[in-house]
Amino acid sequence: MSIVRINVGPVHPSTHGVIRLVVDVDGDTVVNIEPHIGMLHRGVEKLAETRMYMQIPPYTEKLDYMAPMSYDEAYVATVEAAMNITVSERAQYVRVILLELQRIASHLLSVGFFCNDLGQMFTGFMWAFKDRDIILDLLQEAAGSRMFYVNMRLGGLREDLPADFEDHVLQTMNYMEKRIPEYVNYLEKNPVFIERTKGVGVLTREDAKQLGVTGPVLRASGVNYDVRRNNPYYVYSKLQFTPKVLQEGDNFARYKVRMLEIQESIRLIRSAIKLLPEGDAKGLPIKLRSPNPVNRISIVNRELPRGECMMYLVADPQKPYRLSIRSPNFINLAAINHLAKGGRFADLFSTLGSLDLVMGCVDR
């Protein structure tokens, strides 16, 4: 049978972002996939060279718009490394709480979109958005905004946590803990969900290492690597964090790792609130002149919800000379040809959904 070329996009069916896939199919079997990226490119790295240090967080936040707080923190941590600023202990705990809340919101979204990708399983989508809104209300309480926070300052946060915030978080965590079994019940007993995810898009342990994929995609393939454990930052080592690892490496394992990570995040937040010390979490306010950096080159890696992000900063006085970002999504996208080749055309979207890409981060 002759090979037919099908164009998918540039508007991706479930709006992870704008991507165009040129797919060669033989009958119903995918022969080759060529992703075309750059539809959202706006030159973040170049714009960063023209801004002062604390003017950049609004730009880095919009890289991964499903988890803006994480990128906010990753950038500010890089600048802190360049300026040799230490973060106060209370601020470290508060940052961990906020980051883990953001991780729960992001993973919920990814599960919801995954349901959407599998063909209009809209219940999962609606549930995910409902629960994400509850988490966003908490973040709004702490940071003052719904989606883009710009909450991190050098050495701390914009404001300390509001009164009663800890109680609200604990209440929400109790609620989330009840919700997780409902998701599991709904999805893992659903024959359609099982049929379209188990054994589809298998990534073996060796291939995962070779392709350099990160985050839940890597951990679903049986590689026990998480920056929070391997290169612990803030108080993750005190909270006894353990990465969640599964061996199968298929779409179902990738979904399951995210579900388990939500539970792990709930546990982390609870123990962080239990250990939360008194003190001041406020950082340096944004002024016209910031402190000058001490180190010329600083590299910081962080575990974002979608994988390991690395920021490389070459510092000049008052503004960066060069800011380079290693985006986890870009590298996970590179695996799509390997994953979906040889499978059915309809399974391509299941696989793409399980990678949980954000195209804003791929294109930069």
């Binding site: 540039p10 508007v11 069916p13 709006t15 972002g17 704008v18 750059g38 539809m39 959202l40 490119h41 706006r42 030159g43 170049k46 714009l47 023209t50 609004p58 730009y59 919009k62 718009y65 499903m66 979204l109 989508f125 609606m126 549930w127 958005f129 409902k130 809104d133 719904r146 989606m147 883009f148 804003g360």
Partner: protein, 192 residues
């Protein structure tokens, strides 16, 4: 010979016109008489001016938005359709996958130069009357990326915009307010 060639090219130019004329005339013969079921709404309102109110009323209460997200604002756009806000209770039916079924295009996110032809094409595929909502700062004026080399500063450089929504990103409630304003415009209670 040269003259003939020139004549030929002139004839060829005319041929296109003639072809158009032929097509137009053939269609003229087949023109459908105003019919209560299959008529265009514009013909109906021309024939019976009193129906204009009914047509506007029905149009404004079934605005169908297109499932078309570009960047961050698309997440709030989906929240708009999800459980908490529930867009369907006001007649903005569940987001459609094809532009041919849609009335409203909500441009959510920054528009890069490589995306402009696609946005234009989607707009042209929508059936008339069609409306555009610029959702968020990037679609309104370029937003934080206004200095970037790859961004157009506002979708109004490309498409005629009916309602602008401010915010980065605007809350889903804000989009609700914008669409209610658009309803008023479609219903005829606001003049542009």
């Amino acid at each position: 010979m040269v003259e003939e060639n020139e004549n030929n090219s002139a004839e060829f130019m005319d041929a296109k016109k003639e072809m158009d004329k032929l097509v137009y005339e053939s269609l003229k013969d087949q023109e459908i008489k105003p019919n209560a079921v299959f008529a265009k709404l514009s013909e109906l309102t021309k024939a019976f001016p009193l129906t204009k109110g009914i047509v506007n009323w029905s149009r404004k209460n079934s605005l169908w938005p297109m499932q078309f997200g570009l960047a961050c604002c698309a997440v709030e756009l989906m929240d708009f359709g999800a459980a908490r806000i529930d867009a369907e209770r006001k007649g903005y039916l569940l987001f459609r996958g094809t532009p041919r079924q849609c009335d409203v295009m909500i441009v959510a996110g920054w528009v890069t130069k490589s995306m402009v032809p696609e946005v234009k094409r989607l707009y042209e595929q929508m059936s008339k009357p069609r409306y555009v909502v610029a959702f968020g700062e990037c679609a309104t004026c370029g937003g934080p990326w206004w200095e970037s080399y790859n961004i157009i500063k506002g979708i109004d450089e490309v498409l005629p915009v009916d309602v602008f929504v401010a915010g980065c990103p605007p809350r889903p409630e804000n989009l609700f307010a914008a669409l209610m304003k658009l309803q008023k415009k479609v219903g005829g209670s606001i003049e542009d």
